[in-house]
Symmetry: D2
Subunit: 344 residues, 4 copies
Amino acid sequence: MRAVTFQSPEQVRVEEKAEPELVAGDDTIVQVEASGVCGSDLHIYHGRVPVEAGFTIGHEFVGTVLAAGEDVQRVAVGDRVVGCFHTACATCTPCLRGDYHRCANGQTFGHGSHLGNLQGAQAERLLVPRSNLTLRRVPDSVSSDVALFAGDVMGTGFHAIAHGGMRTGDTVAVLGLGPVGLCAVQSALAGGAVEVFAIDTVAERLAMAASFGATPLHLTEQDPKREVRAATGGAGVDLAVDAVGNPEPLALAISLARDAGTVSGIGAYSGRAEIPLGLAWLKGLDLRLGVANVIAHVDRVLALLEAGTLDPAPIVSNHMSLDDAAEAYGIFDRREALKIVLTP
Amino acid sequence: MRAVTFQSPEQVRVEEKAEPELVAGDDTIVQVEASGVCGSDLHIYHGRVPVEAGFTIGHEFVGTVLAAGEDVQRVAVGDRVVGCFHTACATCTPCLRGDYHRCANGQTFGHGSHLGNLQGAQAERLLVPRSNLTLRRVPDSVSSDVALFAGDVMGTGFHAIAHGGMRTGDTVAVLGLGPVGLCAVQSALAGGAVEVFAIDTVAERLAMAASFGATPLHLTEQDPKREVRAATGGAGVDLAVDAVGNPEPLALAISLARDAGTVSGIGAYSGRAEIPLGLAWLKGLDLRLGVANVIAHVDRVLALLEAGTLDPAPIVSNHMSLDDAAEAYGIFDRREALKIVLTP
Amino acid sequence: MRAVTFQSPEQVRVEEKAEPELVAGDDTIVQVEASGVCGSDLHIYHGRVPVEAGFTIGHEFVGTVLAAGEDVQRVAVGDRVVGCFHTACATCTPCLRGDYHRCANGQTFGHGSHLGNLQGAQAERLLVPRSNLTLRRVPDSVSSDVALFAGDVMGTGFHAIAHGGMRTGDTVAVLGLGPVGLCAVQSALAGGAVEVFAIDTVAERLAMAASFGATPLHLTEQDPKREVRAATGGAGVDLAVDAVGNPEPLALAISLARDAGTVSGIGAYSGRAEIPLGLAWLKGLDLRLGVANVIAHVDRVLALLEAGTLDPAPIVSNHMSLDDAAEAYGIFDRREALKIVLTP
Amino acid sequence: MRAVTFQSPEQVRVEEKAEPELVAGDDTIVQVEASGVCGSDLHIYHGRVPVEAGFTIGHEFVGTVLAAGEDVQRVAVGDRVVGCFHTACATCTPCLRGDYHRCANGQTFGHGSHLGNLQGAQAERLLVPRSNLTLRRVPDSVSSDVALFAGDVMGTGFHAIAHGGMRTGDTVAVLGLGPVGLCAVQSALAGGAVEVFAIDTVAERLAMAASFGATPLHLTEQDPKREVRAATGGAGVDLAVDAVGNPEPLALAISLARDAGTVSGIGAYSGRAEIPLGLAWLKGLDLRLGVANVIAHVDRVLALLEAGTLDPAPIVSNHMSLDDAAEAYGIFDRREALKIVLTP
């Protein structure tokens, strides 16, 4: 079968790979109908996240169950399903606490041997372990494009808001309007935020956030701190989300949050970084950091997609063939696309 | 000044009463622009809640601050304000925990000496103690009709959902579509419920709930248990709200809730009652009972009214003059009106 | 092998039964070293809970792993282990929420076909499905008698307190000082309750609760309501636990709880029952009902047993041979024993 | 009356100051029996926190109510009382949420004009505003030395644990065994921590923590990371408390916390600082920062002091006369005392 493989930095290639096969009782084989190219794929693309040459990449997928082991209960052969971007064992100590994103035995699709050695989803077919946790049936009324978001990008935006403890009637700021940030904007509005400040430098992304119902703020052409203060009676927002994953937006998030408020850091930070720790302390903030617990949210997110309360369809900017993956990565890397869906 | 007073069961009268006067430093005098007739006023009307003859009744009001004591900080003379239906001291042990509705020193407007001896709001003017907690400025864009709900009915509907722990993506059932139930329906949808089952026997109320986005279920012409089960894959709802306050709807709420779900009993129960305790235990339910903590919610509710996320305007069925209070109580008692607003 | 079987009401018998065998990949066979006779076994004994004649009963056990399927990771052959009283699948919707006690696929040991058709633990050996959730290694320093409580009785007492939301510094009342009530007393004190009122009619049980650090109150010779009020400045307790499971103690728990407090109903209620619903509503109580979520607590409980913070050893009143099971049930039924441990 | 005043860096002096007088209705005058010298007083002493020359310092006190305004309800003339280190208005938006430590109108005792211009407690008498929130009656059985901790140091240690979300059965690490760290150790054990790792470089402080029940770890002579990992099966602690307030202990706390665990930063950070943000993100940590919400905890802490569950008496190393304040500050600054109590 055909699959997109990492070769070397800035080099991905569609190759012929062996067909996946069922091994464990809760394995399934999924025929991929749509797979996404995600911001974290770019970390692999640039060699910042090490993946073996020839490894199939991609971790967002919707498809049809072709084969299922005897222990698979949640889905059945023939079902259209969406996968979460990683698996979880359900029985280790973190899983027992509900921290599926910190599973001691979890594997991430398409991230090479150091994250579980699980071949990726940018392929015609893939093996899905732990299917009872990893997969969900897609409601008929939900398109594959939309469903694709449930297992990663919308799950992450939703996590930023839910794990950030947002309550109906809160004010929220979202920094960075890539797909995750835009999904956080939608999630905040879905949960009854009274005002969501959406901050970025790209006019199109600001316009899209505004079309969702957010108040757009240009990072450099406006003064987000002053605007947020003015709109919140000087208090700041209840929840500030950094959807970028750099110290600068985190610092801005800290400055935008109200006293005893929350900052949700959903973007991937790395290494050591300087932050305004004194200000965060003075304000008495909670900084909630880390990758999203997508498995914990996926049923809820799918229900919201089915209800239409969440609708990421406008975020999909490009549909491309799996065969054009190299071009797709190039476009995405040059920020010429907001979200690319690949079709085998 | 003119004021609506209780005289004897089924007898209320507009009388001339003495003008209210400032006493404590955080007192205000409010010129009433709109006051509501509420379901709990009917308990007084029928003599079930004892109130002295000649006592001014009514506990929902919007008006303008005429005078304010020296310690009043939150509002100022000339402000259009909405009052909560009761006061709280802010410093007793329940208040320190945030349980303002259980304040050891709280007074309820218009409920006679046994609930704090505080004259009511169905009057031209009234004295408001503890103004820093009891009053809020009404945003300019919010009509007095709509603002009126913030201090009682919408605060109660909102409490049923918030205190019931509803999360974005949940399913909810609301039993009883009086004003409180309808506000609970709106609050659930505002917080991102994916489906709200609205249950009653009155076609108009079912239609109004449907117009808000709920799924109407006729209590007797349909089988709510079967409908809810079918729509939730057999599971039941995450949160079931009894907005009536009788054992029968509570029993139905218990039967509609999913395993380990929540039942929010916001209607006023009285005395001893038989309930399906075994079923509630088998399901592992939380039954969260009690009057709403309106003071804790009022800022959030006002923000949602200002944002338009909550909009109780359609619930107001009748505007009447304060002078026609006796007729208003009669109409309301005969259920010929959903919500009556009195104008002095 | 020998096993205790239910025959007919008031008739249990030690019979020769077939050896258990591994079937699924996460099955284990456990050689039982100690099994408990529990209050819920009496429901079976009296025929109130229907169990097939010849079915092996018992659901509390400590033993050694004799054989383990290939997917068993949490324990290994030769380990001394304690079992939870029921299994859970870890992947259904309730399990994903952490509600293992409401698992859609759970089985309870020794409760016949209507609770999962899983042979019981009052036997020489037993089959344990879902071992990765059901079993835990027992720390070396913890005796088998003590470990036995982790999977049921102490897990239940702990749940009453933890699920009841007790906070360090709270006051607590526990009604009913059987093994579960006594474990709830210990759990409350372990979590930093400043005063625990332990209520019963049996002098020995009151004395044992007092020896744990509780304030004993005789249900009929003292006036628990007056005593609790006097000791709490009139307020009542933050958390009242009904460890009996009848409407009367539940009513007393409601009367002992403070305003906006919590009542934890951990005993098994059945059918319809009359409760003081009006009082519960007036106080604004949360009634948290249902069987304990033992799997969610077991690691924490084992750690507390290992630390010695919890110590149920004094609760074990009788050690008997498995062969004397019939006598054991008789003694236990006549309340001549507090807790019986059977040794094969 | 005599009072300790700040003069210039490293210069404090006992001076004659005017007697305090009642102004507002909820003011009291307290005759001080004991006042503490606190780590935050050293920030003033060294000029890092700016205070006017001649301003009375000190913010921990126990004393007797000499006079009380007409609105004071919680305490009465003649009562022995303990004060919280700051006041709160109870009615601003943060107070309404229960965030008394972020009160928009709060004043801190003895911190000069920039923190509310409220004269301090290292004096014979002091004015206490907002007495209904600021003061609590001291139970008869609690010594003044011990009660003194309720309003600041133990309240802070307790906050580190309670706001850190510790649950009974958790493991905890506390970094920095000054008075606050030692109180955090006691609070963790009071709440049922199964193991508390107490980390410092001072042998006496390690020994004291061990005497409370903690596992002492020498910061440099041992390897705390390795020790904690070994003792927690490689996982790390559920909650790590930085009681120092510097980036280094915060970094260590981040490395000691388990995946999806919590770090409580109770020490006062300042300015910008470099932290291991990538590691905190990878682990999915919550960093809960800020000064303690002492008013929210004080009743609970007093109850625990009365019960003897918390007992900071061993932390008091020196009793000195108010007249010897200059010497006391010198000793404390040279770390020759753990906690000094001044007696007028």
